[in-house]
């Protein structure tokens, strides 16, 4: 995987396939702490203890459910390569939370990539699942919660695939503004 945003897509896909109805995706970037954290938490069935211990072994997986497999091993390798690692917390019935930590400035850290495309693809691709996305850069953050946006009575549905491109564009613009430190002005007016 070339971008970390593809790992996010993969983790979320794992969660949905395992039966999650709510997936919370959090990205935190801090240059001050030289740290990039990616967390994907779900309300799925969770993992039993013995499976949790062997999670990063790519060859120990129940391929039928695809709860784990190559994806997590690839993420763990990407994190370790960038001076970090992966932690998985899970218990049967209590969901699963995967946290990957990277050194933000590490030369081998893969680029974050197009997180907006990942989030938009998830929302449109899994209309029955709710997604909460928070992206923090230093002290500022943007957020999206499909539970708050599901107002079918008002004629808009965030999972309408025709709106996905617009949602991706909104996220991309807000992320750019976030990366600039939230400054308004000429740049912020740029209407691409």
């Amino acid at each position: 995987m070339r971008e970390l945003s593809l790992h996010i897509l993969d983790l979320a896909e794992n969660a949905v396939t395992a039966g999650a109805r709510l997936v919370a995706i959090t990205v935190e970037e801090s240059a001050a702490a030289d740290r990039l954290t990616i967390r994907v938490a779900d309300d799925g069935p969770g993992l039993p203890e013995e499976k949790l211990r062997r999670l990063e072994d790519p060859f120990v997986t129940t391929r039928t459910t695809r709860r784990v497999g190559l994806g997590l091993s690839l993420l763990a390798a990407a994190a370790r390569r960038a001076g970090g690692g992966v932690e998985v917390r899970s218990a049967p019935g209590a969901g699963t939370e995967v946290t990957a930590v990277f050194r933000l400035g590490h030369i081998d850290r893969a680029p974050i990539g197009d997180v907006a495309a990942t989030i938009a693809a998830l929302i449109a691709g899994y209309p029955a699942v709710d997604f909460v996305y928070r992206h923090r850069i230093e002290e500022r953050e943007i957020a999206l919660d499909t539970r708050e946006l599901r107002t079918a009575a008002e004629g808009v549905d965030p999972a309408d695939p025709a709106l996905a491109e617009g949602i991706a564009r909104w996220l991309r613009e807000e992320l750019e503004r976030l990366a600039r430190g939230g400054k308004e002005g000429c740049d912020a007016q740029d209407d691409r």
């Binding site: 691709g125 965030p158 695939p161």
Partner: protein, 122 residues
């Protein structure tokens, strides 16, 4: 803190060229983008993004887009399955953004199966 609101979503809908009604009832076409680890690594997200752009332009309410996991044909990913009501599902292989646009415009909208990219009839 900027958080997407229902009003933001409504503005997005207004700006979408062809405003679409809510999708309910039976869909005439179902398009499945396979997004297992194998599909994602092979470029399935770009395929999905192209499909979403086409959907925004087409403004059709009888087409459903879904994603699913690996279907066991990892070497031919990204795979896309097109199911037209009353016809055999077609699995397309080695998809990219351009192939997706072609399949959408010719197969989904016009009913012409793009056999050059087809892996199999299911």
């Amino acid at each position: 803190m900027p958080k997407m609101t229902v009003d933001d979503l409504k503005r997005i809908k207004e700006r979408t060229l062809q405003a679409t009604a809510l999708r309910h009832g039976e869909a005439r076409v179902k398009i499945t983008v396979h997004m297992g680890t194998c599909g994602i690594a092979a470029g399935a997200r770009a395929v999905m993004t192209a499909l979403m752009e086409e959907m925004a332009e087409a403004g059709r309410t009888d087409i459903r887009v879904v994603t699913s996991g690996c279907m066991g044909m990892c070497s031919s990913e990204p795979n896309v399955t097109v199911e037209v009501l009353g016809e055999e599902p077609i699995v397309y292989q080695h998809m990219d953004a351009n192939r997706m646009r072609q399949v959408f415009r010719r197969h989904v909208l016009l009913g012409e199966v793009q056999s050059d990219f087809a892996l199999a009839k299911m």
